[in-house]
Symmetry: C2
Subunit: 216 residues, 2 copies
DNA sequence: ATGCGGATTAAACAACTGTTTAAATGATGC
DNA sequence: GCATCATTTAAACAGTTGTTTAATCCGCAT
């Protein structure tokens, strides 16, 4: 599918520029000419290396995932041996820090936020390969906190409550910055936010757990 | 600013069509011709009644708010007399139901989700007039649960945790539908979700409150 | 009827979109 | 040196965009 493995320098530059533009402005608002001028290549290069703007978008998406895996290799899986509380703290902290990253990781988070809010065909792939495994991990983890008496749907709701507390800082960032900038004004503030989300969640799960299982 | 108050039928039809298109597809992806054909009016009408696509967007945004206020008049303010727990439950339930509405309310929610994730100049107006008052209300409400010993920034983090649990069902709806559709598959499921979010939050706040105030 | 003014229309406008073309470039093996 | 090939380039393409124009329509007071 790709030509000789000489340099592919042009291709990579397009990919990186595309990632930045798509993450920052979205698919529709990003023009092929923007990408190419930012990458310093000719307009026709996009259709030469990738066959269309849309397929470039898809490749930028998987490229984005590769970059993340390169920096956070196994990460979550390594926590299998830790006690439940530490696993929960690690999950929340990792998720929030990724979402708040200002570098390449942040581009990935922005791109994913767009994909989640307004999915293309690529979302199904992302959900199945990346998100569902982590979701399943939480499904096995949460009964350690709240007990086994809960409806499966309620367990899922708890999981969404955990994730939702983190996602808001990315998906509603402009709102957060206006209403309470102190919560994300510095790395320390973000660390504190992660800790508060963890404590909030732990308190909730622990308290709900003492009820030995409510029902639907 | 508006002409004679005869019918303004055309203007209203454009406004409604614009709201639907902007909510469904976003500002950039929506074309003036789409709006006009959906409204059954001439293309030039947009520039005649509103002077540009962008100012039509702004008017559609305030129109959207008017529609919401028409259906949920004072709502939140009426709860001043209720006990804190009921106020919290009412807030969460109202927020989630608005976010999940499938009618006009839902269009408003979609539009707001777009505006929050990718703000235009209109967001500042929306934040100050609509969101900040509700945020302040929560700022006064939360100490009833967790006590007064908390850092102001931590109180704000609690508030974001509350809101985040609700927002995820709108902002990450495509993801939720793929990972755990049961949490929002029916009105009953959504009601249950609201209840779980409330219980989750109440448990968290109550538990954190027993610590008589942690610190930063 | 007549003329006035807002409302509506079809048509055109210029700018921009993604994509294609065909020629030029440049390295590589012979 | 020459032919071959992928690569790069400027230019053009056809379609769409928001907006403007100028003509037409229509209700209504005169």
């Amino acid at each position: 599918m790709s030509q000789l493995d000489e340099q592919d320098l042009t291709r990579d530059r397009i990919l990186q520029a595309a990632l930045e533009s798509f993450a920052e402005r979205g698919f529709k608002a990003t023009t092929v000419r923007d990408i190419c001028s930012q990458a310093g290549v000719n307009v026709a290069s996009v259709n030469y290396y990738f066959r269309s703007k849309e397929s470039l978008y898809k490749e930028a998406l998987v490229y984005s995932f590769k970059e993340v895996d390169r920096k956070y290799p196994p990460a979550v899986l390594a926590s299998e041996l830790l006690p439940p509380e530490d696993r929960l703290r690690l999950f929340i902290r990792t998720l929030l820090l990724r979402l708040m990253d200002n570098g390449q990781l942040g581009l990935h988070a922005k791109l994913m936020a767009r994909e989640i809010a307004e999915p293309t065909a690529a979302l199904d792939y992302v959900v199945e390969t990346v998100m569902r495994p982590r979701f399943e991990m939480l499904r096995t983890l949460l009964p350690d906190f709240v007990g086994d008496g809960w409806d499966a749907a309620d367990i899922d709701r708890f999981i969404l409550s955990l994730i939702g507390q983190c996602l808001i800082y990315r998906h509603a960032r402009p709102m957060v910055e206006r209403l309470c900038p102190e919560t994300m004004s510095s790395p320390d503030a973000i660390n504190r936010t992660a800790e508060v989300i963890f404590e909030f969640s732990l308190a909730a799960l622990g308290q709900l757990g003492t009820g030995i299982g409510q029902r639907t």
